[in-house]
Amino acid sequence: MSEVYKIVSEIERNQIIAKIAKGKRLDGRSLDEYRTIKIETGIVSKADGSAKVELGDTKVIVGIKFELGAPFPDTPEEGVITLSAELLPMAFPTFEPGPPNFDAIELARVVDRGIRHSDIIDRKQLCIIPSKKVWILFVDIYVLDSDGNLFDASSMATLAALKNLKLPEVKVTGEEVEIIKDSLNPIPLKGKLAAVTIAKVGDYLIVDPDSSEERIMDARITVAFNEEGKICAIQKSGESSFRYQEIQNAITLAKNASVKIFNELSKVM
C-alpha cells in the first residue's frame, strides 16, 4: 500500500465514520438498512440450475451442473455438493486472475457451511445406488461486479440456483444407471437460509457493507440463519477483533436483517 493511498484511505475512513456517528451512511442508508435485492433464476439455459443476484451494485451469478459419480466413502448414502467461487478480475480493480485466493476460498466455504448446516438439502435424496452412484452437484459462484457483501449475495444466489436446479429421472438395472430423457424435476428444498453480514467500523456495527465500507472496516461477521431463527454458521473475518459484547449485538442486528432476505427469497422459491 503506497503512503499516498494510505492517507487517502485514512481520510475516507474518517468521513465514513463521521457520517455513521450521525446514524447515516455515504449512500444514505441507516446503519441497519439492507440494500435493494434483485433475484432472477434460470438465466443460463446450458446450466442445470442458475440464478443471478443483484445486491445494490454487487452482481453474482451461480450456475449448477450435475454429474453421475461415486459418493465419498464415509457418506455412502449421500450425494455430493461441490461448491466453489471465482472472484472474476472484472469484478473489482484489485481482483487478479489466477487460482482461487483466500477470499474466494473463504466465500465458498462460508456459503457451503451455511447450506450444509441448515439441512436445506437432504443429501440422501441425491443418492441413486448407495456406495456406487450418486448425483454430484457442481455449484459455481461467479462474482461479476463486487460492490461489497459477497457472502450474502452469493448465499442468496446459491439458494435460488438450487431451487432452479432440475435433475432427470433414472432407471436402475443392477448397477447400471440409465438417465430418462426429458424427465427433469426440481429437487425438494427444506426451508431457506439467510446469511447476513455485519461490519465493524470503529465503535459502530453496520449491516450489509458496500465496497467502500469494506475497504475501511475493522472486521466483519457473517451469521447464517434458517427460517426457524437458528444460527447455522458464523464466520468472523478481517484483521481486527470484535469486543466480546459486540459479538452479541451483531447477532441481534443480523437476526433482524434476515427478515428482508427471507422475503426476497420467497418471491423465487
Binding site: 446450458k46 446450466a47 451494485d57 452482481k59 450456475g63 469484478a91 459455481d140 461467479y142 461486479d145
Partner: protein, 264 residues
C-alpha cells in the same frame, strides 16, 4: 452431456433456410449493452444467438509486475474465460489451453484498433467471461470487448467488429451457430477495423476452394459491416442517454471519443 446430441442430417433445409430458420447470409439476433458493471472502467454485455458474454475493461492503469511494462506504449492484455456451466459438458474451472489461445487471438484482433502509444508503461486489461456459449464465442467476445473499450473512453482508431463465415451443405453461410460450427464443412472467424478495411483476425478450419474462400471473405465483410453499425448505434444511444441524464442535472455535455462518432 447426459443426453446424446443427434447429429443433424442436413444443415440447410429444402426451403434454403438454415435449421434455426435463418437465411444463409443472415446474422443471429444480436443484443448489445454497455456500462453494465459498476466497478470496471468500461463494460459491455453481448447476446449473439444464445451466446451470453460480458466484457470489462480496466485501464490504462499501473502495471504489475512492472518488468512487463512497455516503454513506448500500453500493454494490452485480454483474458477470455468460460464459466463452468456455459457449455453442455461442465468445463473444468482450471484455465485451458484453448482459453489461453483465444485470449491471445482476441488481443491480436483488438490491438491494431487502440492508440496504445498514448499510454506508455501502463496496461489496458480486458476481461471476457462467457456466461453461455453457442458457437462463435471468439467473434462475439471481440464485439463485446470493442464496446467495453469504447465505454471505458479509451481512444480507438476504429471499432473492431467480428463475425464468422463458413460452409454447410456446400453453401457459404454467415454467423455460424453451435451446430453449424460442429458439423459444417468450414468455419472462418474474421475481425476487421471495418471503416479502415484492416483484417485483424482471420482463421480457417475445414475445406474451401480458393473461389469459395473469396466468396466467404466477401460475405464475412458484409456481416461485419452490420455488426459495426449496431455497435455504433449502441454507443450513440448510451451517449444520448448519458447526455439526457446529465442535462437533467447540470446541462454539462460529455463528448465521447471522436473516433467512434465521426463516421456516420
Amino acid at each position: 452431456m447426459l443426453f446424446e446430441e443427434k447429429i443433424p442430417e442436413k444443415l440447410i433445409r429444402n426451403d434454403g433456410l438454415r435449421l434455426d430458420g435463418r437465411k444463409i447470409d443472415e446474422l443471429r439476433p444480436i443484443k448489445f449493452e454497455v456500462g453494465v458493471l459498476s466497478q470496471a472502467d468500461g463494460s459491455a454485455y453481448v447476446e449473439q444467438g444464445r451466446n451470453k458474454i460480458i466484457a470489462a475493461v480496466y485501464g490504462p492503469r499501473e502495471l504489475h509486475p512492472k518488468h512487463l511494462a512497455l516503454q513506448d506504449r500500453a500493454l494490452l492484455r485480454c483474458l477470455y474465460r468460460m464459466a463452468t456451466f456455459s457449455v453442455s459438458e461442465r468445463k473444468s474451472p482450471a484455465p485451458s489451453r484453448r482459453e489461453a489461445e483465444l485470449s491471445t487471438i482476441i488481443t491480436q484482433a483488438l490491438q491494431p484498433a487502440i492508440f496504445l502509444e498514448y499510454y506508455p508503461r501502463t496496461s489496458i486489461d480486458v476481461y471476457i467471461e462467457i456466461i453461455e456459449a453457442d458457437g462463435g464465442t471468439r467473434c462475439a467476445s471481440i464485439n463485446a470487448a470493442s464496446l467495453a473499450l469504447a465505454d471505458a473512453g479509451i481512444p480507438l482508431r476504429d471499432l473492431v467488429a467480428a463475425c464468422a463465415v463458413g460452409k454447410a451443405d456446400g453453401q457459404i453461410i454467415l454467423d455460424l451457430n453451435d451446430l453449424e460450427d460442429k458439423y459444417g464443412e468450414a468455419d472462418m472467424p474474421m475481425a476487421m477495423l471495418y471503416r479502415r478495411g484492416d483484417v485483424t483476425l482471420l482463421q480457417m478450419d475445414g475445406q474451401f476452394t480458393i473461389d469459395e474462400f473469396n466468396k466467404a471473405l466477401e460475405l464475412g465483410k458484409t456481416g461485419i459491416s452490420k455488426i459495426y453499425q449496431l455497435q455504433k448505434e449502441t454507443l450513440r444511444n448510451k451517449y444520448l442517454s448519458i447526455r439526457d441524464e446529465v442535462a437533467d442535472e447540470s446541462e454539462v455535455r460529455i463528448e465521447i471519443s471522436k473516433e467512434v462518432e465521426e463516421d456516420e
